[in-house]
């Protein structure tokens, strides 16, 4: 069985950045396993610009952004296998994978970085009633057909869900000659970035109907129309508010689900809120030496933060491998130095990543990312170390569609030797 110090599952933005960072942190034996025909993941079909403003201080397209990392992977001579599907990972980090040339093979990994990304929620998950004709696509599938294959999925389009991919596709379909009639959103607020609503809908005069959903799909062979209705506070359609639209296509942008079948299979603890692994300050899961980053951990809005998070996972995995090596040389077990403190997400904060911090092992400045559960205006984000408030930052507006972050200083945490809990919350004025 071949052995690598670090095996990275997925060659998208998270996997690439983790690989580069692990290599730069001094680990040489790294393998990326990618199921598609090229590295870059979903970025390859994101041909619009707006990527890299934080990382590279310039506006890149998705493939250009991926290209920057792919170049580094190649320069650093990091190994990767394409067309390769990981079938299984055992809890002792034996990775079983498959492709046409190597067949079914096993690799022993010193550390594993989970970077499989996410998938789109389907129509079935929403249980939208009606027929099941052709012409219903998840926005990402339509994006692939248009941007990578050059085919137009439809001419008269209704979009359900105002997630970022849906908004981007509203503009793309318009540019390719389709007529996008309306974007409907179940929630009273959009799930996408403000800039995408402006640039993809407002600029093209496409209406956004909040608190609306699709209650019927017509057409037996191909979509012929849909019915929208307004919903009440509980998301139930309000009778009498139905509006019919003639269309041949319904695009769905109704949420992303971290792709954790492999993680679950190997025994990684998953969060009910994010559907991603529960991780500590090192982005390490409950299984020692198994790390997670990017959209498999929690769904991000901006790839820049995926890269940043994945770089941390790469550094930590490299450190884990190196420490494991020296522990082996000394014949000692991993010592549980420092203390682990839980981060409590309350009062409007739905979750935090990480959800626990070891004060000894954390970096000098630890980024904690989170999302809020509703729209908050002129509120504060606060962090408490037990009873003491150490951060109180004014935020003019916060929404579920935009990821938030706070930074914790290690020296500040170390000043609280008896620290029991860190609390992150939204506070009204």
């Amino acid at each position: 069985m071949k052995t690598y110090d670090i095996v990275i599952i997925g060659g998208g933005p998270a996997g690439l950045s983790a690989a580069v960072s692990a290599k730069k942190s001094g680990t040489d034996s790294i393998l990326i396993l990618e199921r598609d025909k090229e590295l870059g993941g979903i970025l390859n079909q994101c041909i619009h610009n707006g990527f890299g403003l934080h990382t590279f201080k310039e506006e890149l397209t998705g493939p250009e952004y991926a290209g920057r990392f792919i170049e580094q992977v190649q320069e650093l001579q990091i190994e990767y296998k394409l067309h390769t599907m990981v079938m299984d990972i055992s809890s002792d980090k034996v990775v079983t994978a498959m492709n046409s040339t190597d067949g079914l093979f096993e690799i022993r990994a010193g550390a594993v970085i989970l970077a499989m990304g996410c998938r789109e929620r389907s129509r079935g998950a929403l249980n939208i009633p009606g027929y099941r004709p052709a012409g219903i696509f998840s926005a990402g599938t339509a994006q692939r057909l248009v941007n990578m294959e050059g085919y137009l999925p439809g001419r008269k389009v209704v979009i359900l869900g105002s997630g970022d991919i849906g908004l981007i596709m509203a503009r793309r379909m318009t540019l390719e000659g389709a007529q996008v009639q309306v974007v409907a959103e179940l929630m009273p607020y959009s799930g996408g970035l403000k800039r995408n609503i402006v640039q993809c809908l407002d600029d093209y005069g496409i209406p956004l109907k909040l608190s609306h959903t699709v209650v019927e799909i017509r057409g037996k062979e191909r979509v012929e129309g849909i019915t929208l209705a307004q919903v009440d506070e509980k998301g139930r359609p309000v009778a009498g508010t139905e509006e019919e639209y003639e269309c041949d296509t319904l695009l769905l942008s109704v949420g992303l689900i971290p792709e954790n079948e492999l993680s679950g299979g190997m025994g990684v603890e998953l969060s009910r809120v994010t559907s991603g692994p529960v991780v500590n300050e090192s982005l390490e899961t409950n299984i020692e030496g198994v790390f997670a980053c990017g959209n498999v951990l929690h769904v991000h809005d901006l790839v820049d933060f995926v890269s940043e998070e994945a770089a941390a996972a790469g550094r930590n995995a490299a450190r884990y491998v190196q420490e494991a090596g020296s522990r082996k040389a000394q014949g000692t077990d991993k010592e549980a130095a420092g203390r682990t403190v839980e981060i409590c997400a309350v009062d409007g904060v739905r979750y935090t990543v990480p959800s626990r911090i070891n004060t000894e092992r954390m970096e000098d400045i630890q980024t904690v990312r989170f999302r809020v559960g509703g729209v908050y205006k002129n509120c504060f984000v606060s962090v408490y170390l037990d009873e003491e408030r150490i951060l109180h930052r004014k935020r003019p507006v916060m929404a579920p569609g935009e990821m938030e972050e706070v930074k914790l200083k290690r020296e500040e945490l170390l000043r609280h030797p008896d620290l029991k809990a860190i609390t992150v919350k939204v506070e009204e004025v």
């Binding site: 040339t101 079914l104 389907s122 249980n127 009633p129 050059g150 999925p153």
Partner: protein
């Protein structure tokens, strides 16, 4: 001129075709859809019923029990998925115990083996997720689950290999008596046969009424279902039925042969023979009623919903036999539940009727076995490695949810009566049937279909007809 024309390539038509291919006869199956298994046979509970439901002495009861007994051997001969997992009819009210007893008695009268009533404690040991208020259940160890597509396609492929012709996209418009037999007008031109089998599902009344003065009526009875992800597949380990009673008919909860969990169906009569649209009310009813007998159902795991139409005949009985005022015209009508279970026995009965009418002789070249598409996931690792060495396409995963390889998809397209649409590939391989519902694999499967069928991607359909996936190329209207 055919000896026999079978109208309808659903499970009863294809079972009949396969049984008839045991004889020397020119047999043709006419199907209005683009593939086999496109009507009632594709959207049902996928259960091999034990046989205690139908009234004692009915043809339904007889063929149900017979069909159930044939399942094991047939699933081996024709290589489709079947598991005899047993079923439980849950009684939640002591006052309704006589109904449970009546079901037991009827089952015994119908010849169902191994039936017994299990009390609360044993029931909970058997199924920990049974609802708290369950007091007893009727246990039927002979009930099972089957892959309805797998069985239907297996019948059809085996029939085709034994010489039966299949004509798809062929819709029957009229049938007339001739001196030599029957003339069938279709949208693809006329066909002639000495003998006709009417296995047209919800349209069996329309076809029957073309030739007979004794009119029949088939009412499509819609059933809505929800399918849950494999993560929920072991929530119950047997088929769980509700005891029909003062709480209504209830819905069933069952694992599927592929490891998902299926809940449903509703029973809503409709006029529309193509009305396979689910409704909000129907789906809500399924979700609500499923929870009555099984607790803690993970409803968040629903991956799709669908509806099927039962071909309900007003007397709730199978109508199988030569039509009185139409010699050589054989009805196979009113095949609603337990039609899937009974289909092996229906095939035998129909072929026997036709054999007598036409005085058919045995076909010595008949091959009774068929190999399905290999499932590499069921292979030991070394065998799977060997398969990939021989054919690298088995190393290339196309559907990531169901882990279906390119090799399986190519086989599905290239074999007799191969798939020509995304749904055809899906029913044969499960590509697109998983939790992402074809979001990931559909562009890839379209590419393979286009390549194999010598078509452009823009011609590939979801399910034949006007169900094209893409409508043009970028900017073609600008």
């Amino acid at each position: 001129m055919y000896d026999v024309i079978i109208i309808g390539a659903g499970v009863s038509g294809c079972a009949s075709a396969r049984e008839l291919s045991r004889y020397r006869a020119k047999v043709c199956v006419l199907e209005k859809a683009e593939d086999v298994c496109c009507g009632t046979s594709k959207a049902n509970s996928a259960i091999a019923h034990a046989g205690y439901d139908a009234p004692a002495g009915s043809l339904m009861a007889k063929l149900n029990v017979q069909g159930n007994r044939m399942m094991e051997r047939l699933s081996q001969e024709l290589d489709f998925a079947f598991r005899r997992i047993g079923s439980l009819v849950i009684c939640r009210d002591r006052e309704e115990m006589p109904n449970l007893q009546a079901l037991y008695d009827r089952g015994v009268a119908n010849g169902v083996e191994g039936l017994r009533i299990v009390e609360q404690e044993e029931l909970r040991r058997m199924e920990p997720h049974i609802s708290e208020d369950a007091v007893a259940a009727l246990y039927a160890p002979t009930a099972g689950i089957v892959c309805p597509f797998g069985m239907n396609i297996a019948f059809a492929e085996n029939a085709a290999v034994n010489g039966v012709t299949f004509r798809f996209d062929t819709e029957v418009q009229d049938i007339r008596r001739t001196e030599r037999g029957w003339l069938i007008e279709t949208n693809q031109g006329p066909f002639e046969a000495k003998c006709v089998v009417n296995a047209a599902g919800v349209y069996a009344d329309v076809i029957h009424n073309m030739v007979s003065e004794q009119k029949i009526r088939i009412t499509p009875r819609r059933g809505d279902y929800c399918l849950l992800d494999k993560s929920a597949g072991s929530h119950v380990s047997r088929v769980i039925f509700a005891l029909p009673g003062k709480y209504g008919k209830g819905v069933l909860v069952t694992p599927t042969v592929h490891g998902n969990l299926l809940i449903g169906p509703t029973a809503i009569d409709t006029e529309d023979k193509e009305g396979v649209n689910t409704t909000r009310a129907g789906l809500d009813q399924v979700l609500e009623k499923a929870g009555e007998n099984v607790k803690d159902l993970p409803m968040r795991s629903v991956i799709t919903s669908f509806a099927g139409l039962r071909a309900h005949e007003e007397h709730h009985e199978f109508r199988i036999g030569e039509v009185e005022d139409a010699a050589g015209f054989v009805d196979c009508a009113g095949i609603e539940s337990p039609g899937l279970t009974a289909s092996p026995a229906i095939g035998v009965m129909v072929s026997e009727i036709v054999r007598k009418i036409l005085q058919l002789e045995e076909n010595p070249a008949f091959v009774g076995t068929r190999k399905g598409i290999v499932n590499p996931q069921e292979m030991p690792m070394e065998e799977r490695r060997q398969l990939i060495r021989e054919n690298p396409a088995y190393g290339n995963i196309i559907c990531r949810c169901e882990m279906v390889t390119e090799g399986e998809i190519l086989d599905a397209i290239r074999r007799p009566l191969g798939a020509r649409s995304l749904d055809g590939v899906k029913r044969r391989t499960r590509a697109g049937m998983g939790r992402c519902q074809a979001g990931f694999c559909s562009p890839r499967v379209m590419e393979i279909l286009a390549r194999e069928c010598g078509k452009d991607i823009s011609e590939i359909t979801k399910a034949g007809g006007a169900s094209k996936i893409v409508v043009g190329v970028n900017k073609d209207s600008l």
